[in-house]
Amino acid sequence: MSKAKIPRKSTNVDMTAMCDVAFLLLTFFILTTKFKPDEAVVVDTPSSVSSIKVPETGIIQIMIDKEGRVFFGIDGQDTRIAMLEKMAEKKKIEFTDVEKQQFSLVSNVGFPISQLKPYLAANSTERSAFPQPGIPIDSLNNELGDWILAARQSNNDLKIAIKGDQETEYPVVKRVFDVIQEKNVNNFNFVTDLEANPYD
């Protein structure tokens, strides 16, 4: 009787398959990742138990920082250009195609529209230092209302989301509500962080 010989096997494992899987997943994650758009100010939102998610597209975002400055943002490059054209018509400001193209990449506006031309002409480092006093919301110069109107004229399905800072004072928020309501929008959302419901 001969002894059964156990053949010696190499301990090397073929890594090709694993490598394929790893890179497949990597591709998937790279393609699905959407980085946070750079926002002009840091806004610390309050939390709520609401379980509804903010839609990713089709929203007008109105940010209010703790000093009461109001920022206006909208997604979609085509919508931005269409909105700017409507706004330019109203404010009688001419924008060149290059400026429109530049504007389509701006995620937030936080200054009067008279400042838009110099802002679009500035480069990225100058832009970060550009003064952003907030969009005027007083009744004499209600540019926020004009922006909302222009945005809704270019896309009627836009929903409004208000993103306010915890420390924002109520009168500013109230004024923003009024501006929105003047444009006949009674339905909107507050952007909040998630909080657990104590009675669930």
Binding site: M15, T16, M18, C19, A22, F23, L25, L26, F29, I30, T32, T33, K34, F35, K36, T45, P46, S47, S48, V49, S50, S51, I52, K53, V54, P55, E56, I64, A161, K163, G164, D165, Q166, E167, T168, E169, Y170, P171, V173, K174, F177, Q181, E182, N186, N187, F188, N189, F190, V191, T192, D193, L194, E195, N197, P198, Y199
Partner: protein
């Protein structure tokens, strides 16, 4: 670095032979790198998406429209006034001259939440029954939703008036709306604070507060 070995240095006429190497490459470092990047992208993508707290404000009345005389029943109404330092004043009813105005806070144990729970207890218990039915699969989610909306909007459901004065913050407002959501209050409105109410507030908070300078 990348010179070609001419094979000189003595051996004359010797044909240069490249050494036969295995074509197998060790892929382990590449897999490591792949998984490292996957980890990075996974962790960055799962950043919590913000939540939306929906709200519907009452339509601004058109001056041409006939005046709507429907009033909220006084016994079902609760008026909440948000003010500075996260303080809350509330009273039952819509407001008349002799209301019992009380002070409370956002405290979860004995703050506004308990006030709302007490006042809204019939609705809360009804919804609780429904929730149990949903959990034991007696009713489906659509039916549950429908029933909850019916209860929250029912004729006997309470109505909350949320008022905020100039010293209140946005956080107070959202917290208040959140409390209403937690306590199943479906009917509420954000309205302006009455000057009379401000006087009343300043009356009750007297010992701790010095009257505000004009």
């Amino acid at each position: 670095m990348a010179q070609i070995d001419t094979g000189g240095g003595g051996k004359k006429g010797g044909k240069v032979r490249s050494k036969k190497m295995s074509t197998r490459i060790d892929l382990t470092p590449m897999v490591d790198l792949g998984f490292l990047l996957i980890t990075f992208f996974m962790l960055t993508t799962t950043l919590a998406k913000p939540q939306a707290l929906p709200i519907t404000l009452p339509e601004k009345p058109n001056p041409d429209d006939p005046v709507d005389t429907t009033k909220v029943k006084d016994t079902l109404a609760l008026t909440v006034i948000l003010t500075a330092d996260d303080k809350i004043y509330y009273y039952e009813g819509i407001g008349s001259d002799d209301v019992n105005i009380q002070q409370t806070s956002f405290d979860t144990e004995n703050g506004i939440r308990q006030v709302l729970r007490r006042k809204n207890s019939p609705q809360i218990s009804k919804i609780e029954v429904l929730r149990n039915q949903l959990k034991s699969k007696e009713i489906d989610a659509a039916k549950y939703k429908e029933e909850v909306i019916k209860i929250k909007g029912g004729k006997t459901a309470m109505f909350v008036f949320v008022k905020a004065d100039e010293k209140a913050t946005y956080k107070n407002l959202i917290d208040m709306l959140d409390e209403l959501l937690i306590n199943q209050v479906g009917k509420y409105a954000i309205v302006d604070v009455d000057p009379k109410e401000l006087e009343m507030i300043n009356g009750t908070g007297a010992p701790a507060e010095t009257p505000a300078a004009p």
